[in-house]
Symmetry: C2
Subunit: 364 residues, 2 copies
């Protein structure tokens, strides 16, 4: 395939809507990921290593909303970048980074399901039934998560973007990794600490989600296209509130969402004892008996549907749900306010507005 035909095949058609663009970019990201994985066969000839690579491929290609690659794409477009293979590769690198982190995250949380399917460490454990299965699954998933993170790096470095712009983007990518790990670290600390305040829970959200999922991907796209500092600042002021709203929506769905839509067992977040702002706020406003129920059952692995229903009712009765919906709304307004006055082209603006709307008002 020549460079020309590559360029042509990814170019947008005249009059494409923001939604059509997003669909096209998602398909291009998937094609790029599949191509990258095709080029990266296992270096050793062993049938079980081949099986592990197949499972990893299925995990990477089999789901996900491609939020970070899309934000990276719109960040690039907003900074004047044209459609090309380079930005698709860079966006795909962010998706590989995300897949690697998810594989590790599922080990840390002992999660069984992700995107409606067994998590990697569970699938891998299933290959070796018996006493050693669990530790085999964990060890194998640690390795495959690390492999995916190394690939992410390889794909970004090899994206073909002009070196000085790539260098600027790498600085942001390095920050993204450091920040998301700090956010995850705060998150696991929360599990062994008592009662975070709303403020503490918000710090986790900022690092684990807002910067990682929205701000940095947008800025990386921008930096790859040579954005100046003022545009990177606009991306930050748009991205942080949007990212916070996205996580708050996720927390609401984790507690009140339809598992048939979210693909996640509805008791998981509650049994895991995820320290969300919903819970922090509810505890802060709970009566003694409500607080006792919250402390007893939130994070209790033996939680049943009945106790979960009571927990949900407490979150409603204390006003926590309404409060979090207001927080989401305030942040959405703030993000859209920044976006409206941003000096970026109309198509990128429409694309970002549509994406923001989807992140905030989704049901899964």
């Amino acid at each position: 395939m020549t460079v020309e035909s590559d360029q042509a095949s990814i170019g947008r058609t005249a009059g494409e809507t923001a939604e059509e663009t997003a669909q096209r970019i998602r398909a291009l990201i998937d094609r790029r990921l599949a191509g990258f994985l095709d080029e990266h066969a296992a270096p050793v000839a062993d049938p079980e290593v081949a099986t592990a690579y197949r499972l990893l491929r299925r995990f990477i290609l089999g789901g996900g909303k491609r939020v970070r690659p899309l934000l990276c794409y719109w960040g690039w477009r907003g900074a004047g970048g044209e459609d090309c293979e380079q930005i698709i590769s860079a966006g795909s690198a962010l998706e590989l980074c995300h897949a690697g982190l998810l594989i590790h995250d599922d080990i840390m949380d002992s999660s069984d399901l992700r995107r409606g399917r067994p998590t990697m460490h569970r699938s891998l454990a299933g290959l070796h039934p018996g006493m050693a299965a669990r530790s085999f699954g964990q060890a194998a998933a640690i390795l495959l998560g690390t492999l995916t993170l190394a690939w992410s790096d390889e794909l970004l470095s090899g994206s073909g973007v002009e070196p000085s712009r790539l260098k600027a983007a790498r600085v942001l990518f390095d920050r993204l990794r450091t920040e998301v790990i700090a956010g995850q670290y705060l998150d696991i600390l929360a599990q062994v600490r008592d009662l975070p305040t709303v403020e503490q829970a918000l710090t986790v959200v900022r690092y684990k989600t807002a910067k990682y999922t929205v701000e940095r991907p947008l800025q990386i796209g921008g930096a790859l296209a040579g954005a100046d500092p003022s545009l990177l600042d606009v991306y930050s002021r748009f991205g942080i509130p949007l990212g916070e709203a996205f996580q708050l929506r996720d927390d609401v769905l984790g507690m009140f969402g339809d598992p048939a839509e979210t693909g996640k067992p509805v008791l998981d977040d509650l049994r895991e004892g995820k320290h969300t702002i919903l819970i922090a706020h509810a505890l802060q406003h709970a009566s003694p008996s409500q607080a006792l129920h919250l402390r007893t059952w939130h994070g209790n692995a033996e939680l049943t549907e009945e106790q979960a229903a009571a927990l949900r009712q407490i979150v409603i009765d204390t006003g926590a749900l309404a409060h979090v919906e207001i927080m989401i709304d305030e942040r959405a307004r703030e993000a859209l306010h920044v976006l409206r006055s941003a000096a970026i082209d109309a198509e990128a603006k429409a694309g970002l507005a549509m994406l923001a709307d989807g992140l905030i008002h989704r049901t899964r």
Copy 2:
């Protein structure tokens, strides 16, 4: 500090011996690592995150022979590179990569000690006594290992080496990571499989150690200095046998070494059931009763010193120890033969010969 004074402070003095050079480079690597860590404070202000960063710093700076940075350095010198900060940064990046992999490896093996100190996941678990301690320690160590790997990448990319050479080295660094993960994957498979043959055990050694520890670091140093393919090939033909000999020596020390010197409890490798060539060879030549003892006690967590002594005797009596010593010797000769006829400068040759000797004849 100006570039000049930096250059001066790392330059070698006239008549420096290979041993003195190695000591100077080790000190420079440690200084660079410490400087890098100074520049990378935690992005969030939380006392427990600060504690985790302190533990990580102690782990990275507190031990290790700096084998990979030294090989990278000599690979650079052999290709005509002069002493400078760039190669020190690149070598330090390999050390960070190694530290990150070790942190994960210790989780996978459930090891308690590394370099005579508690492993990272054990130290971290100690911060939160109680039921959740073990899973907290594991999760925290997964994150810190991943952070260290991300830093390794950041340090290599930011080493300041001329872009086209850096690109050539990155291709090799990407291979190194893929290969070592494949080797580790084969290694964990070995734990759930029955009896590897000597040939299978040798494949693990090749990927997990020979390529990772010796061949690729040498080649990366060479590529950074602009080495041509024929020199990279010499490094491969020298590095693979040397790396195999290094791992075989490690296996012998794991079974027969003095724990006071190795810093590693002498029963660890045996209890873990590490599938070494020593064990593969012993099983292949064991009498039925010897084989029964090997199968019963090798990899048994309840192994006592008495059974370990019997295992060692079987490894001696079956000729496995003698056979492995011959394998080490053959590989050492092969490596030195390649080195002697290599077209590299006399100092690099002397440095590599000294390093090789140390790797093969060490007692710890």
